[in-house]
Symmetry: C4
Subunit: 319 residues, 4 copies
């Protein structure tokens, strides 16, 4: 990490970032691009430090379906084995000439019980086969009860469908410059009452020790009533800004990070949603201007928002 | 759009509307009558910019049921085709004389598996038919798990059952006039802690460029403890109001829009709900007075709210 | 309604009650004992002004089960009729000697399809019987999908388990008197961050017209961090209180009403809950003192809250 | 309980604790370690004072499954008994030589109906057996509807996965001392916007009566933007602190209690969560310093939080 000239001392630090203040104990960026904190946990068992709710609701779809299919397969394998050891002669209707066929038909009987299809061309006789199939039917029903809950949980998980521009930019603004980035809702949602909070995180040397310092970056506008088009967040780089002394070179060489926190109300969920991201200094383009990303349609009756232009900017010279 | 005399310059604009500020890029009204923003999105694929949660929860009921029935039909068609190609001789109990009958019975076997009815008079033999029916039973159960979630999601979607008067009016008020419109809860709900925010949106010329300007319209009362009868929102048109200079003709010729935002707490959902609407200037009646819409019952023990009178007003002259 | 001497004019009225201001249009109490507004709606059809969500979630349990059982019976009656007209000869396995038996067995076949039990000793042959049973199985599954949602909705409906004392009292307080009533959580819940808002509603004559007037009643303490024992709400009747001039007789003869609004956070629901009630003047006891309703247990390790004492008070003389 | 020298009278008490103020009526600690209030209720029946929602959602997992399995067994026992009394000759397909076998097979037929497996090798004939199996299938489906809701409710119950250090400590701080304890999120969650409120509860003698007094303990920092690592709550023991006069001995002999209330926003639930705990004075270590519990990984790309060090401190001398 390059050293940098001492930070604008008119800038006021804040203590309430919630990230570690000892830079020499801290590794990597504070917040990942997707908004998660860049922290790993250890010291207690993985089971104890995993919230299954959060896990099952946030894994990718294919993993989720994979887990369900695997569980379905293993559960039936388990019960098939039990039927097999009880003896397939207690499963009426099985016609099998060898052990593999016997096990196969026990497996499919298990499936028919687990799913409660119960064709009945194979059916249990005797206490143990009947008993195990009773347990299996209950197990199956409870499994699908859980699966129903999981599906609904995943499906209805509140999520803020907001995209951020890939880059933040230093743009001309009034008589000076400003740090800007923008965001837009990209799905069929109605977002209102959006709030933004932007923080700068830096590791600096203080009394010979490396410490993390955090600075609130005041915005020209930190609330909007509705988030319908794009919203450009503007931090004017005034005399009081911690970014006041930074040159184009500094953004390339210093390990700083812009932490972004958005809170917004969604009509359909009827709740506030939170979305976070961060820009490390390497993702800041010095000297640029965002292009407008919406336009009226031909008959002037509706406004078209072009999502492809979210990160569209042109380079300008800052003197 | 007609030009209009310069707006009352004592009125203060606000920047936090969240709508575009460049009027020449903006088309049509800001907010549709139903409260959605009048914006269309393009630039990324329709799948990526669709929230299925929001889609399935907000489409009309007949479309929702149509999608379910269509899916049910197509899924069974798909599995029937597979059984047909595996060979209906692997489905015990099928008695068919021609291919159409064979396919038909495969289709109904598929239905019996997909729904887990499983009468069993038709049942699978051999590995492949058994395997496909295992997959189908799982598919069916997961489908109904999803359907259960969707039904519940639609059913329990928080919704503010509030109706607005069709028109806003300019009514006599104290020694001058006021912009008024009203709303009422129209279902068996208990709404409390209602808040209102009303904004005026106008396209005006500024330094030779068309820009959108937004003005907060202060209300005589912007909060009520309970929303039980009708609530008339009153913006007094004082010297400081952006509407101060407007004549009856102006409301007919100018493209202005009153944006309405309501937030209210519902007891049964135990959450805050949001409801929006807008009045374009053509929906404003100049010179009118709302009629009272509630009355006591015969024995004076309960108050009757007549929902039909929500938009009932009589014309008055404003001097 | 008895007339009463003019109200303390140091008391300040509020306009934000959300109840009608015209007393001659208003009938009965403002808020029912259970917290609902005492308002009936008319003017639009009952279907349009009913929220099924609110209806199904708030009806008593026996009505809810009654509706389910009735629906189950009617749906099977409907499908049985269709099978009967298609002809029970298309239902394999029916052994019936007369029409009543035929219909009965069609009915039970319908049940076995609707519930997806599908024993299969009766099973459909031919296109129409198979087709109708396909439709019925889908209908059955969707019905139980909805029922599942309803059960969950009823079960998990956020509810503030708070009981209020039946009476409010006028009690000695410091050097004067105060209006008091109390409440307590009565179930196994953890309630925190409770807030109270108390309003007095009165119909008075103003300029020859009967109008409803509302007065905020300031409380000695309107927030508590935790609601664990009883909470006595105390409105000191000072010179500024609208109740300042009221005598014991007035409470008996005047139609006033104390409106109570409580907001509280429940740990398990993780949401704020609202609870309302009201005391009409006839429910106010003039001259009384609440008895304390909790006590330590024998070994001083836990506090016992006696819910039976919620409305326990003793009469005292107010001079 | 030991008497203690009169409390620092510069400290300001608060009345809004929500706990009883009469110490002689109050038993044991105010808040249990797990955050529940230390109160038991009596006076109304256990059924009336139990919220089944809260009960089923908060009992341990094994009790929850135990209740389900027990219910499944009892329901089938109940229906089996009815079939047995109707007569197993009305259940086609039963082959039994004695009463125990008859009852057993009736039981398994009941299971097959309740779970809607319906193999059909046993099936009902005659009105009563058919009727009872119709009732049972409905009962089964509704039972699993409820179970589905319960599973989902348990699974998705919002919970703040925060652990507190076992001990609070009195640590050196600036030129004096401070009361400190810390907490950390211990699962795969993203917590933001955390707030803390810390209250001291003490029983003291006032005018010859034992009363409970509560004091807000102001924190050096009572809000953080993100709760990603450990958060140490620091109450500086200044001249105004109610703890100002306390010695090491006092913490051992006096019955005081530190009540902790945390509110935090969870991304996945999209809601605020509440977590409470308390430290009685015996759990306060006089003269200690917490060890830092996080460190960077080897390649400095991520920060590792060691959950085992949550309560790790070293003793120091306070002069």
């Amino acid at each position: 990490m390059a050293l940098f000239k001492s930070i604008n001392n008119k800038a006021k630090t804040i203590d309430s970032s919630g990230f570690g203040t000892s830079a020499s104990n801290y590794g990597g960026r504070f917040v990942n691009k997707n908004g998660d904190a860049n922290v790993r946990k250890k010291g207690i068992g993985i089971l104890e430090r995993t919230s299954w709710h959060h896990f099952m609701l946030t894994i990718p779809r294919w993993q989720f379906f994979g887990i369900i299919i695997l569980f379905y397969f293993l559960a039936n394998l388990f019960f098939a084995t039990i039927y097999y050891y009880i003896g397939v002669e207690h499963l009426n209707g099985i016609i099998a000439t060898n052990n593999a066929e016997k096990f196969g038909q026990a497996f499919f009987f298990s499936v028919q019980t687990f799913t409660t299809v119960g064709y009945g061309h194979i059916n249990p006789t005797g206490f143990w086969a009947s008993f195990v199939s009773s347990v299996e039917a209950l197990t199956g029903l409870l499994t699908f009860a859980i699966a129903t809950g999981l599906f609904f949980g995943r499906f209805s998980k509140p999520e803020a469908y907001i995209k951020f521009s890939e880059n933040a930019i230093i743009a001309p603004y009034e008589n000076g410059t400003a740090l800007m980035f923008r965001m837009t809702p990209f799905k069929n949602v109605n977002l209102t009452d959006a709030e933004a909070r932007v923080t700068l995180g830096l590791s600096i040397e203080e009394n010979g020790k490396m410490v993390n310092k955090f600075y609130q970056l005041p915005l020209e506008l930190d609330k909007v009533n509705a988030l319908t088009l794009s919203w450009t967040l503007v931090h004017p780089i005034t005399e009081k800004s911690p970014l006041y002394n930074f040159t184009a070179q500094d953004y390339g060489s210093i390990d700083g990070e812009i932490l972004v926190f958005i809170k917004v109300f969604d009509d359909v969920y009827s709740t506030h949603l939170v979305k976070r991201t961060s820009y490390i200094f390497k993702e800041i383009v010095y000297g640029a201007k965002f292009n407008i990303m919406y336009n009226q349609n031909e008959d002037d009756s509706v406004t078209i928002l072009d999502l492809q232009k979210l990160n569209s900017f042109e380079k300008v010279n800052l003197q």
